[in-house]
């Protein structure tokens, strides 16, 4: 068994006609994985190995970074998204870096934009994000703001970054930029978008902005990062660098690379527009449901007991007429139901067709042109903080943090 070797052991590998030296890495599917001196990993029978030596682990060198006290103080709060990593070529292991000094060393140019304090909140895969962590995150960001940070950078896995940005948009009133950033291509690769995204996010965090935003590549080129409003942004591609898009309007600004020049649109909320505030209650008994042809009314019934349900309907905001009775029941029992559209682009309007009018009569609230995910985060926050159903409905119908685009511009 391979239990006798541990990662980093120097082993002799007799395979083929020659004996080769290598480093034991791990065992995988019945093979011992050895990194040969040539750098290649090979999977060979564990019986072909014998131990030569067990070297002591090499400690990465200590780093001290002197930060420029004249630059704005920025905070980096990490949740698991990696903006810096380090490779151990002896074993091939890639480790994420969260410490401010390590991040500075990996991306030295950050030191020309600000001085940093790093705070590791959690290291989760972003698909494992929860409303409870949003609450912790909002609290941590609020503390940084209260502590005088000129801007806060939140590193986040990209899968659920848009949800988190939307949630924090509602939970926080911020006078400084709160910038979400991540990378679509892993930070270990020389081509990673991490460096440019990190530098642009730092520049945005130091800019004249006062809202929650996402800063990521605007195109496949390394030329511009877009600054997206936290309530209007969505991940629209599985893997591309420019996966993040502002839906229903333009980004609120850009950061040019490599100059790191920030250009804000007139609609961007400026630094210092509000006093910092934190309202972090969330009602977690909320869900989002994408309608599809043939959906059984029984599906609606399963949401009985929920505080709120976001429907992602077809077209202008429709579901099958068969679903209207169970929806009426659900609403009568106290569940708030808000209609959004799975078209993502465009506004819900349930006054055009009969089905829509029936939905409105049943008590469904039109979600305007809110993104379904934003609507969910907003609903959790509204229902978490407002117990009066009528007030809650009024809030859902109001534009709180730019989640409604107000007027529909023609750009897609």
């Amino acid at each position: 068994m391979s239990g006798e070797y541990s990662s980093g052991d120097i082993v002799a590998c007799t395979y083929g006609r020659t004996l080769r030296k290598g480093t034991y890495i791990t065992s995988r599917d019945g093979h011992a994985v050895v990194k040969l001196e040539s750098g290649y990993n090979v999977g060979v029978p564990v019986t072909s190995l014998s131990l030569i030596s067990r070297p002591e682990a090499v400690q990465p060198p200590e780093v001290t970074v002197v930060q420029d006290e004249t630059l704005p103080r920025l905070s980096i709060v990490s949740t698991g998204g990696t903006i810096a990593s380090r490779i151990d070529y002896r074993t091939g292991a890639v480790t994420s870096q969260f410490d401010a000094a390590d991040i500075m060393r990996a991306i030295p140019r950050l030191q020309t934009v600000g001085r940093y304090r790093a705070r590791k909140l959690t290291t989760i895969l972003s698909e494992n994000m929860t409303p409870a962590i949003w609450q912790e995150l909002a609290g941590a960001v609020y503390e940084e703001i209260e502590d005088g940070a000129a801007g806060v950078i939140v590193t986040h896995g990209t899968d659920t970054m848009a949800y988190s940005a939307a949630a924090l948009s509602f939970m926080l009133d911020t006078p400084v930029p709160v910038i979400f950033v991540g990378s679509q291509r892993s930070a270990d690769r020389p081509s990673s978008d991490n460096t440019m995204n990190a530098l642009c996010s730092a520049s945005a965090a130091a800019a004249d902005l006062g809202e929650v935003a996402v800063v990521m590549h605007a195109s496949t080129n390394d030329d511009i990062c877009a600054i997206h409003r936290g309530t209007r942004v969505r991940k629209m591609h599985t893997s591309r660098r420019d996966a993040f898009r502002s839906i229903g309007g333009l980004p609120i600004g850009i950061v040019e690379y490599p100059s790191l020049t920030v250009r804000l649109e007139p609609c961007a909320v400026r630094r210092g527009s509000v006093e910092p505030a934190l309202r972090k209650n969330l009602e977690e008994r909320c869900a989002i449901l994408t309608f599809y042809p043939g959906m059984s009314p029984a599906v609606i019934e399963t949401f009985s007991g929920y505080a709120g349900l976001i429907l992602s309907g077809t077209g202008l905001g429709h579901v099958s007429t068969l679903l209207i009775p169970p929806l009426r029941t659900l609403i009568e029992q106290g569940t708030m139901v808000v209609m959004t559209s799975q078209c993502l682009h465009g506004r819900v309007c349930d006054r055009v067709y009969d089905t829509g009018r029936d939905l409105l009569r049943a008590g469904v609230i039109e979600g305007e042109d809110m993104l379904p995910e934003t609507a969910l985060a907003k609903m959790m926050w509204v229902l978490g903080n407002e117990k009066d159903p009528a007030h809650a409905e009024t809030l859902m119908r109001s534009d709180l943090k730019g989640e409604f685009s107000g007027r529909s511009t023609n750009g897609l």
């Binding site: 006609r17 001196e37 290649y40 070529y89 496949t220 080129n221």
Partner: protein, 620 residues
Amino acid sequence: MDYERLGLKAGIEIHQQLNTREKLFCHCPTVLRTFDERSGEFFRFLRATESELGEIDEAAKEEMKQERRFCYYAYVTTCLVEYDEEPPAPLNPEALEICCTIARTLSMTPIGQVHTMRKLVIDGSNTSGFQRTALVALDGVLPNGGSIETICLEEEAAQRVEGDTFSLDRLGIPLVEITTSPCMKTPEEVREIAAYLGMVLRSTGRVKRGLGTIRQDVNISIRDGARVEIKGVQELDLIAEVVRREVLRQQNLLSIRDQLRDRGASVMEEPEDVTGIFRDTKSSILKKAHSVLAVRLPGFAGLAGREIQPGRRLGSEFADYARKCGVGGIFHTDELPAYGITAEEVGQLRAMLRAGGDECIVLVAADEKKARCAAQQVVIRAGWALRGIPEETRKMLEEGSTAYMRPLPGAARMYPETDVFPVTITADWYSSLPLPELLTTKRDRFVRELRLDPALAAQLVSSEQVGLFEKMVDAGISPSLAARTLLSTLKELSRSGTDVRYLSDEAIMEVLSAVEGGEAAKEAIPAILGMVASGTTVAEALRKCAPALSRDELREIVRRIVEDRRDFIAERGIGALGPLMGVVMAEVRGSVDGKLVSEVLKQEIAAQVQENGNRNGKKV
């Protein structure tokens, strides 16, 4: 030259593109495009990532000296994987199978579980900043008794358009890399082994052909010399010459070293600013330069200009190093006065520096920063001349001499490509892979079994058409007809402007089968193929080009002609065959095979001769 006595040790690394349907880690076709077919461009910056030990690879650092912006050409035949915008697809099983077939042919031991690695390459030729590569098999055997160390399956890099612009059509084409041990002892042996490996690769029938699809790197050292890697020898015929010239270079450099030592030569590390001397010079390079620096090399006079390889001097090596700083070249006093620099100026230079007669002075001219850098590089290279030969990666120049490219790379920086799962190679599967018939064996078989001329057989097996040839022979087409059609008819057609790419293997076979069946004449083959190439169906072309006469129709024509020339035949007997052949052929216009005409004509003439004889006999 006695290479064994010189302690020559050489090994080769062969890179061969595989002719798979798809690329190694995506489903794009493995086709090359012309640059103007590009559908878009994008640009990126690459940066070295830090290793655990806090160091950045030396070669990588060299590349990172300037922040470099790379531009890439995209095509409709490339996808997000080439753009480093999508994770790779699983390792292409077709490529792995070809790689394993080659490995098995070379008696190599396959790796049980093949792991794809990322090898750091940040010269821009890979969008990701690394090349994906997997070690597939170990320890092969060569005919000279030497060994093959490894065979790897890797992705081809992007093609450089110019400067920092790359074309992505080539990126990701599967490549096998075969590395031999340094087991070759003469230049000819290197050529033989390279030829042998090339032959084995082509024997699979599944590798790409043509310029640039196979590249050889050669590792060379001699006793007391240094290991030098020469990149990108594309033509096999030059490989022995490259080795010979490298041995010569190393011998000459060693001899220069000994002479320098005897003279007590030295390198003065601090360059002198001599810009003032050349303020009014006729050398435009020196005149327009902000800074002219002189590197002083006491004891080097006469040796910097010494030839070390055809067309290359020690001074050329200094210049190679200096060019790394962006200067166009250097001047040294061994070659002066020249290039607009006068003897008087050289005299002033020597006087100003109080240089002795045995001192060589190297001049670099550029802006201050570049000139400093270039002078420093000359100092480094000149220092090596006193010690011996630096270990280097060199690039081949035309005709086999070489120039400095970069220092030898350290151990490759590799870490696992976690997006690609390891692939298991089972012993059963590996041993079930059919071994290709080696082209040399095939050649001998063609001579033996098909009675082909040895030269023709050799030409056939080295052509890309050998597979089609065998299919034709299996289909009952005569080997000589098949060989002639493939090796000459198609070439002639192509030369006369027919686009033979439009001729499918099936169409060519159909035409030849029709000829073998007597439906068309051999003489009509070019015309028929020409029509098929321009879009006519085979059947239609056969009908148009070869309104084939039946044997009976032919006999009728022949009889008429023979009858008309009764007297001529009476006079010449069977000797009339030759002249009448022409008459018949003119009438049937190539629609009948000459052999058949000759056969029928001979019969008819014989019949008439016989008849005449009988008649005469009666008379008598």
